[in-house]
């Protein structure tokens, strides 16, 4: 069993896990999982049962953008359309 990475280390690394994304962005796990399954958050995974890794800066920016679009009243299909344009 290894230790969790400290906030300092997370903020300095290029890739983060979904759990670390939850800690950075204060988003719900189920929300991020849903965004991932909908293809709104791109990730890398070496093998099927290994942890999904997200590019930290890019993904955090994208989550903030999605939150902003949601607060502007956009629905998920509309947000997806904007993201994939």
């Amino acid at each position: 069993m290894s230790r969790q990475r400290s906030m300092e280390k997370i903020m300095a690394s290029e890739y983060v896990t979904i759990g670390e994304l939850v800690r950075i962005t204060s988003s719900r796990y189920s929300t991020l999982k849903f965004y991932t399954e909908e293809g709104m958050l791109p990730f890398e995974q070496e093998e099927e049962n290994l942890t999904r890794r997200y590019k930290r800066e890019e993904t955090v920016r994208r989550i903030e953008y999605i939150k902003k679009l949601k607060s502007d009243g956009k629905s998920i299909p509309e947000i997806k359309e904007i993201l994939f344009k």
């Binding site: 230790r3 300092e8 979904i18 719900r28 796990y29 942890t51 999904r52």
Partner: protein, 294 residues
């Protein structure tokens, strides 16, 4: 964003919603969990070959109520200094019986952002594929022992996590040594089971109906608020309810008006059903019934 220690992380989850004044079983378990977390903090890095210090955990198990109270005061002031914990009035304060007897009940409320961050990061690590960290294994055990675990996960998720933890139990000495430890006394295990069952029953549509007729079982979800005059109309009844909540410092939003209004009090929905209680004279008023979406 603050970096919190293991015992602080656990305290944020375990103390949220507990009554301040009384040392009920749920709080005893939460405080014992906090004490256990302080011991476990020393073993986050180590690969334990001799096992965990069982004697230390036994001491926690038999700690007196006075010691638990002192520990509670210590952790709550620690969290308050970090602006992560506040004390709010309980909804019970609005009940006719509590108002007339002058009893004030308050509850702990943890910072909602931090609470979400902590609970969701545990959920993410336990439900995602990949390695589980020492912190989350320890937190899982603490949540299990303090009976908060089932509040955070659905039955389906519990199955998935149990399977994962069984595998960890087989491969890790640290987990094996931890999972066999207990900080619940035998009678507390029975109380916890009873409270869990009660919560399950009174969270259903039928259960809330039963509670409306027999509020004794869970008064918190069947608060009675009296009206000033007999045979008040819908608006006057609702006004009395809103006045009482405002007086006791609760945030209320009216979702629907009418004979049975729907209101939201501190993130929980209630229907206000006109009714009366019989004392020397009948007292008319409104009984709140927790609104369950079917």
């Amino acid at each position: 964003m603050k970096e919190l220690s293991l015992h602080e992380r656990f305290a944020i989850i375990a103390l949220n919603g507990l009554e301040v004044e009384t040392m009920v079983s749920a709080k005893k378990l939460a405080v014992r969990g906090i004490m256990a977390a302080k011991i476990l903090e020393n073993y986050l890095d180590d690969d334990i070959s001799d096992g965990l210090p069982e004697l230390e955990f036994k001491k926690i198990l038999w700690a007196s109520t006075r010691k638990l109270k002192a520990e509670e005061n210590k952790i709550t002031s620690e969290l308050r200094d970090k602006n992560l914990l506040s004390v709010i009035p309980s909804i019970l304060n609005c009940d006719l019986y509590y108002v007339t007897s002058g009893v004030e009940v308050s509850e702990y409320l943890c910072d909602s952002d931090e609470y979400t961050r902590q609970t969701e990061s545990i959920r993410a690590e336990l439900l995602e594929s990949g390695e589980v960290s020492s912190e989350v294994i320890f937190l899982w055990w603490l949540l299990r022992e303090s009976s908060c675990f089932y509040d955070l996960f659905s039955p389906l998720e519990v199955d998935k996590i149990t399977q994962k933890l069984n595998e960890i139990h087989l491969t890790s000495k640290k987990a094996k040594s931890l999972f066999n430890l207990k900080i619940q006394r035998k009678y507390e295990q029975i109380i916890v089971k009873y409270l869990k069952k009660k919560k399950e029953i009174f969270s259903t549509a039928i259960g809330t109906g039963v509670l409306y007729v027999v509020p004794f079982f869970e008064r918190r979800q069947a608060v009675f608020i009296e009206v000033e005059e007999w045979f008040s109309d819908d608006d006057k009844r609702l006004a009395c309810v809103l006045d009482r909540f405002a007086e006791k410092g609760h945030i209320v939003t009216v979702i629907k008006t009418g004979t049975v209004p729907l209101i939201k009090v501190d993130n929980t929905y209630y229907e206000c059903i006109p009714g009366q209680v019989i004392m020397r004279v009948p007292i008319q008023g409104v009984r709140l019934r927790r609104y369950v979406m079917i």
